[in-house]
């Protein structure tokens, strides 16, 4: 059947502790052989990618994206979103359930996975934690899992009711799923459109206090503690405050299964980057203070943060060209995440390349239980990103593969030019195609 050789590159497989020149043979979607350069046998006639001077790493995994399908295909589709993912080096994306209808059913989950959706890379649906994401009745997690769901979440909305969250955590644990919480006590953020602080006062915008996130993360950690079940796994989505991160840090010291992800915009930007009402700097949770941003960067450098996830949230141009308080929340992320991470964490922050790859591949694969992904050993899926870690480039949103253009990073200098993205042995992105 299909086969592909990746030749002459530097293999960087952090999970296996490999950082050495290797040739890789992928056959039928899986890694068949990894050998010293020039040592693969019987590969004549097989398609080969010349990765000389490039790094070959496990394909990136974004555990938090919104692909808007079904229901809002004017913003994005599974096909367009996964094309953007492939261009950004991703070979797997986990899609949040706030589609229309909400993905709270086996049927919708299966529909998203159908080949007719035209996905360029693997899609892993995250199912709604509660019926219709209303925060009241929990769904049938066993059925959703067997349909393909990799986690449950009401992302975009929090599960506020303590009894419901407790039940969700415990029911998800029984089937081996984590609950991903969008931690926002919406009783404290009514009418808020940006972080509460000097900038929101100056701009005359209603603020969302950091405590709205911190207090709900603390509440959820208390629930995990009370449940006393080692299978219970709470994952905090798009963590944005120093307080919430401190709570996660403490929970980890206490041995709890509490994990978190951070989005590039939250570890790079602050509420000052809202400038004068830039709706492409409006998202939820909002850009926070410099102290919060610095704490998140520190958390990435010292390891308490488990994953980088983009919260890729496309919105049509006309939907963002409105008054700030009327604009929808969210920005694109798939095409800029790796370039920003390499630029600001690796080059500026001196975080080793292998740590960046772990944060964007092996660790999210582990969090969502994606077997055979986030690694490039024999038997793993043939998912790889092949890139020049030193090359700088400039992001041009006009050339995006997404259907939307809502990014604050247009024109920004990125680091690490992707040459190819390979999904299960097939080239899904080729920078020179």
């Amino acid at each position: 059947m299909t086969a592909l050789v990746i030749r002459g590159g530097l293999l960087l497989d952090p999970g296996a502790g490999v950082e050495a020149p290797k040739d890789i043979l992928i056959r039928d979607g899986h890694v068949a052989e990894v050998a010293a350069p020039g040592k693969l046998k019987g590969i004549s006639g097989i398609e080969a990618l010349d990765a000389s001077g490039l790094v070959v790493a496990p394909g990136l995994i974004d555990m938090h994206v919104h692909l808007r399908e079904p229901g809002q295909s004017h913003k994005e589709t599974i096909a367009s979103g996964t094309a953007a993912a492939a261009a950004g080096g991703f070979t797997a994306v986990a899609t949040m359930p706030n589609t229309r209808p909400v993905n709270d059913s086996v049927e919708t989950t299966r529909w998203m996975l159908e080949a007719e959706r035209g996905a360029h890379v693997r899609v892993f649906p995250i199912a709604a934690a509660t019926r219709g994401m209303k925060g009241e009745a929990i769904n049938d997690y066993a059925a959703l899992k067997s349909a393909g769901a990799v986690a449950v979440s009401d992302d975009g909305l929090p599960i506020l009711k303590e009894s419901v969250m407790r039940e969700a955590l415990s029911a998800a644990a029984r089937v081996g799923l984590c609950v991903i919480q969008h931690a926002e006590d919406t009783r404290m953020t009514q009418g808020g459109t940006m972080n509460l602080g000097p900038a929101s006062f100056r701009l005359g915008l209603r603020g969302m206090p950091a405590e709205a996130e911190t207090s709900l993360v603390e509440r959820d950690i208390r629930l995990v503690t009370e449940l006393r079940d080692p299978r219970v796994h709470l994952h905090v989505a798009h963590i944005s405050t120093a307080g919430a991160l401190a709570a996660v840090r403490q929970a980890r010291r206490n041995g709890l299964r509490v994990t978190c992800e951070v989005a590039p915009h939250h570890f790079l930007l602050t509420d000052e980057h809202v400038g004068f009402y830039n709706t492409n700097a409006k998202m939820c949770p909002p850009l926070r203070s410099a102290a919060d941003r610095d704490a998140l960067l520190q958390g990435l450098l010292d390891g308490v943060i488990d994953a980088i996830a983009t919260d890729h949230a496309p919105h049509a141009v006309h939907e963002k060209e409105v008054e700030f308080d009327q604009a929808p929340n969210g920005i694109l992320g798939l095409e800029t995440s790796f370039g920003l991470a390499l630029r600001w964490l690796h080059k500026e922050g001196k975080l080793p390349l292998s740590r960046v790859i772990s944060l964007m591949s092996g660790q999210p694969a582990g969090l969502l239980g994606m077997k055979g992904r986030g690694a490039l050993g024999v038997g793993s899926f043939g998912d790889a990103v092949i890139f020049d870690p030193k090359a700088e480039w400039s992001y041009k949103v006009a050339e995006t593969r997404s259907k939307s253009k809502n990014t604050p990073f247009d024109g920004w200098t990125m680091q690490g030019k992707i040459r190819w993205t390979v999904s299960e042995g097939r080239v899904v992105y080729d920078s020179q195609a």
Partner: protein, 365 residues
């Protein structure tokens, strides 16, 4: 090499294997220490205003431009009306109002007409805005109709920035949400200068040295307060913000230099030469409950309070005033009140800023 697209039949079956336990590294119990200074992306300077004739914020006028506006306001006020009407004869100014207004709308309209301009009023209640037309499209339509300047009043903070970015016309901010009301701050300044500096129009960083201005009441929701607190300290004034916590958050003091918070109204009165009273913006309280009697007891400007603590001070109010709430009828109509002077000064200031905007568009002005 052709780029592959997932096609029918290629999908794998869903992974049904049990979730692998997450490997969680034990955390180092020591508090994280910053090993090196973090490098982070800079905040780029704002491109606004795109049009040199715009007045979106009081921060868009430097002291020299401020002096020009004040000087020009006086000159235009004193000019022969027939001569004055030639300045912008038959040029087009649009007023775009998404909120009701008496003073601001009328004085902008009279100011533009006094300079000879044709004005048109578009209000959200009697236009295609009701049918769902966006601010961007409304602005582009007005531009296509020949408007050379748009005067915008909007209930969303920042709306003038959006309109300027989309139309690149001179935009005059006639009040945006809870954010700014720059012409109100300019007319307040003109009123203060008339009372305390003999009507000076050339200003510098020391013009208001030694002057303390109290801004009292609903600071949180007030665009008048923001514009005043950003403008007056630049001329050397000290600003005291005074009000209850629900209407005056502590972080208001961080808005700029020379701003302090004083919760005790009588203490604030005792230190101020100017007292700017604000209306409680019931329409923006967003569910907040406020005890009216408690507010009146703490913050109403009454005759006896004024006589006891600030017998020489000038009393301002941007209007509309709610007699019997933030201010008593006696004070509003009293000898220390400059409230109606403010209204009159509004026309002079707005003539100057409309002329400035139209000059930036070239033509005869």
């Amino acid at each position: 090499m052709p780029v592959f697209r997932w096609a029918a039949g290629n999908n794998l079956k869903p992974d049904r294997s049990p979730c692998a336990p997450v490997q969680i590294k034990p955390m180092n119990a020591a508090a994280p220490t910053l090993r090196r200074p973090l490098s982070t992306p800079p905040v780029l300077p704002s491109p606004f205003p795109y049009n040199s004739g715009s007045l979106l914020s009081v921060l868009h006028l430097n002291l020299e431009e401020l002096s020009e506006v004040l000087t020009r306001a006086t000159a235009l006020e004193q000019m022969d009306p027939l001569e004055r009407a030639k300045i912008l004869a038959k040029r087009r100014v649009a007023l775009l109002f998404y909120e009701s207004s008496t003073r601001t709308r009328t004085s902008f309209e009279l100011a533009a007409k006094a300079l000879g301009a044709d004005t048109t009023l578009v209000s959200n209640l009697s236009s295609s805005i009701e049918k769902g037309e966006s601010l961007k499209d409304t602005g582009l339509t007005l531009r296509a109709l020949g408007a050379e300047t748009i005067i915008l009043r909007h209930n969303s903070s920042g709306a003038p920035w959006l309109l300027e970015g989309e139309t690149r016309l001179p935009i005059l901010n006639a009040g945006d949400g809870m954010h700014e009301h720059p012409t109100q701050a300019l007319l307040d300044l003109r009123t203060i200068l008339a009372h305390l500096r003999a009507g000076a129009t050339e200003v510098n960083a020391k013009t208001l040295e030694g002057v303390t201005v109290a801004i009292v009441g609903d600071i949180l929701h007030s665009r008048v307060a923001r514009s005043n607190m950003l403008l007056l300290p630049r001329l050397g004034a000290h600003v005291i913000l005074c009000g209850p916590k629900a209407l005056l958050p502590e972080l208001a003091a961080s808005a700029g230099p020379n701003i302090e918070i004083e919760r005790d109204f009588e203490a604030a009165l005792g230190r101020s030469q100017v007292i700017n009273m604000l209306r409680i913006q019931a329409e923006r309280l967003a569910g907040q409950q406020l005890d009216r009697d408690e507010y009146i007891a703490g913050y109403q400007l009454t005759g006896p309070r004024l006589a006891k603590f600030a017998p020489e001070a000038v009393v301002l109010h941007p209007g509309p005033i709610i007699r019997g709430l933030e201010i008593t009828a006696g004070v509003a109509d009293g000898a220390q009140s400059a409230i109606l002077e403010q209204v009159t000064n509004g026309v002079a200031i707005r003539m100057a800023v409309v002329e400035r905007a139209m000059k930036a568009q070239g033509g005869r002005a």
